[in-house]
């Protein structure tokens, strides 16, 4: 990889940004050389996305400067950034779902013929870019119909359409299979060969070592290191990211599975817009084992989880807990029969953020003794239980009356875990349990799930993080396009094999 070390194509100096309560960026100074891939590595909350949003003009820095190609430059809004040749592909795509590919790409940089839009000329230009860089798309497709991998290509085309020189990719591989990730790396290679410089934000250590020319590590809003990928190991990087020695492997003994506690038979879920999203899925989980459901987001995992936890009706199939058939769309019945559910979206489903912790702790049990009798609430009993759970699960909060919305992500998850696991449970369904959490909280959750397994609970983990699946599960079922492609043993499988399954190939 050739790059000129003389004048960096982008430089930031002492960028500082505070949000109420947090110092998101603290005197951050980095530089990007022409034609290189710079990886910006850090755990969730380290400040990487904030920095990029500042560079892209979405946020204003409190202080600090930019230089482009050696010249000082002010970036006040995305308009300035785009004019400077900066493009960004966000973690959550910035595509208008009901618009077509062409409309999305030309939005804001429209091709016009007099006062009217010239869609055919735009289409031609887009297809030319698509061919040149190997980004195959159907220009008239409606974006919400497209799979996530294709949507990402549309995002990249959007940047190319505006003559991007500096491309920022924020966690692009979160939604890709390993094979698609390799394709993305190939595209990135094409781009750098033609002179584009890339900033690649991620928290995934393996990728960084594979694709980056240089690595900058951030932690708690500060730059804590800069290295050459050829000279470090994953372990070194992890330690830099977290600031202490990290154990990358979860300590666990071999599972001793017993009888079947949880069974899903032939489950079908249909969606009004998308058709069949869960297509005759069947699996079993035994007491004392962890079954993982792996797969790239968007292959039906969300709908599967909603159906088996009663949040959504299913259009066929059965759910059995401990030999008893469960009624449809009835979360309370599932809970009463021993299900615990750690939901994917803790703000939407898991907590009522405006309620104090007390009400959140009894969210699923408020109607029972001792928390109420004859319909009247017993506030003392609720408070006693809340205080006890706060202690037992080490929830960091000044009091039980704090609003749930005021807690950190990790502590919010602890509240949910405390609530769900303090009951007598037979099966735990954990959906993306460590998404958005810091390493300390991730370790805690993983330890807790393994402990439950060893106590005889059947544990189902749905996750799109391959590392997590491989670390804590005993068996892995891979989902693709609403079906279980295959189920393998965790101990004997490899990332490559899983990657192939996630992309739909069978053995």
């Amino acid at each position: 990889m050739e790059y000129s070390p003389v004048t960096p194509v982008l430089e930031t100096k002492d960028i500082t940004k505070t949000f109420p309560g947090t110092l998101a960026n603290n005197k951050v100074s980095i530089h990007l050389n022409k034609g290189e891939v710079l990886a910006l590595l850090g755990e969730n909350g380290a400040g990487k996305t904030t920095l990029m949003n500042i560079i892209y003009g979405l946020y204003d820095a409190d202080s600090g400067e930019f230089k482009l190609n050696g010249q000082p430059y002010k970036i006040r809004n995305p308009h300035d950034a785009i004019a400077a040749g900066i493009g960004m592909v966000h973690q959550h795509f910035m595509l208008v779902p009901v618009f077509s590919v062409v409309e999305n790409i030309m939005l804001g940089a429209e091709v016009v013929n007099g006062p009217f839009l010239d869609k055919s000329r735009a289409r031609e230009e887009i297809m030319a870019l698509s061919d040149r860089y190997g980004l195959a798309v159907d220009p008239d497709a409606i974006v919400e119909d497209l799979p996530v991998g294709v949507q990402q290509r549309v995002e990249i085309l959007k940047a190319l359409f505006r003559d991007v020189k500096i491309l920022i990719l924020d966690e692009p591989t979160a939604v890709l299979t390993p094979q698609e990730t390799n394709e993305l790396f190939q595209i990135m290679h094409n781009l750098t060969e033609s002179g584009v410089s890339i900033v690649f934000i991620t928290h995934k250590l393996k990728e960084v070592l594979e694709i980056a020319d240089r690595i900058v590590i951030m932690r708690r809003g500060e730059v804590v290191g800069e290295t050459d990928p050829k000279q470090v190991t994953e372990h070194d990087l992890a330690n830099l990211m977290v600031g202490r020695d990290v154990n990358l492997v979860v300590d666990k003994e071999t599972a001793q599975p017993k009888d079947i506690k949880y069974e899903v038979k032939d489950l079908v879920v249909k969606d009004l817009l998308k058709g069949v999203v869960v297509d005759h899925v069947s699996f079993q989980v035994r007491a004392g084992e962890v079954l993982g459901i792996a797969g790239v987001q968007g292959n039906g995992q969300t709908e599967l989880a909603e159906a088996i936890t009663g949040l959504r009706k299913h259009d066929g199939g059965e759910v059995w807990i401990d030999g008893i058939l469960m009624p449809q769309a009835n979360p309370r019945a599932l809970v009463e029969h021993g299900m615990a559910h750690i939901p994917e979206d803790r703000h939407k489903h898991g907590l009522i953020l405006q309620y104090p912790l007390t009400d959140n702790f009894v969210l699923c049990s408020y109607y029972k003794e001792p928390y109420s009798s004859h319909g009247v609430r017993n506030e003392k009993a609720i408070l006693d239980t809340s205080n006890e759970l706060i202690k037992r699960f080490d929830v960091r909060t000044p009091s039980a009356f704090v609003q749930a919305g005021d807690l950190s992500g990790g502590n919010q998850q602890k509240v949910i875990v405390a609530r769900e696991l303090s009951r007598e449970v037979k099966v735990v369904i954990a959906n993306q349990p460590t998404r958005g959490l810091d390493v300390g909280s991730i370790e805690y959750i993983h330890k807790t799930l393994i402990r439950l397994r060893d106590e005889g609970v059947a544990v189902l983990v749905i996750s799109s993080e391959l590392d997590e699946i491989m670390a804590i599960t005993d068996r892995i079922a891979v989902m693709y396009r609403g079906m279980i492609v295959d189920t393998v043993a965790a101990a004997s499988t490899t990332r490559e094999e899983l990657g192939l399954l996630m992309a739909g190939s069978k053995h």
Partner: protein, 366 residues
Amino acid sequence: MEPKTPSQNNWFMIFWRAIRVPFLAILMSLVVGAVILIISGANPITAYVALFKGAFGNANYLKRTLEKTTPLVFSGLAVAFAFKAGLFNIGAQGQLLLGAIVSGFLGFAIKGLPPIIHIPLALIGGCVAGALYGAIPGLLRAYSGAHEVITSIMLNYIAINITDYLSDGPWKDVSGTNVIARLPMIENSAKIPYIGPVPVGFLIAILIAVVVWYILEKTNFGFEINSVGLNSHASRYAGMKTKLLITSAMVVGGLLAGFGGSVETLGVVGRFQPGFNVGIGFDGITVALLGRSSPFGVILSSLLLGALKGGANVMQFDAKVPHEIIDVIQGLMLFFVTADLVVRKFFRLKKDRGLEVHVAAGWGQK
């Protein structure tokens, strides 16, 4: 969140923090109202003085103020309860009309009953009518996602048509030489009495407000209603029957509005006549928002609005100011109280938690 210092935590400060935004909003609207009066050539001082005298000046004026306050408490509760569930019960007007006409009908059509039976019977009839009418937008919202604002506004107009028809048709007062479209006077046995200047209906209203407070704060049902209003997804996750709760909230709202219409008919007006009770349903919105959807807030703001309405006639007579200025002031109060930011910025206050109103945005058919 840091714990507050002792001086910030005493009883008065808690009360003040809860009340300061509505209080300041009312102040600001009175000021702007005064400006409008000056523009239209009137003297705001004499106007407001006459207003105050008309509201509380003597026993008769006080009686009228309390009479005006009573239906406002009910309709304010009808809107506030629905707000707690995240619903906007703009249909209180229609629910109130149906409650009023049904109780008015039961009041005159049934003869020979002692008051101790006749009054509750007529009241229950009105409550049931209101509850059923509130169920319609509730069911539609719960099961088809239709936004209750449009459906209830339409139902308001439909209610006017239905009551107009009944008053001019099958239930019309055909006694003597009457040609006006209205129902006959209710029997004496259906009239709600007074205790001195205080209408018993007012006392009933206060009692109902306390009951509503208890339900919302202390019961599981109230907990569920609050939950659905704050986060219907988490409520479903928790196993609550959200569709049933949404419907129930509108049914209760309708019941309360119907109750208010009945109390007004049986206690103050003495018969159902179209054209009376116009706007009480919408006043309920102002009252609920001024009172921050809390039952005690509703009582206080009903008294305020009742005083304004009670004193308006005297103000019109003494200071020659058209009584519609009250409507303008009311609109302003509504604006200022919901535009938290304006009031807070003006008086440099910090953000209050927990007292916001959560109403669904958009039309719900997504």
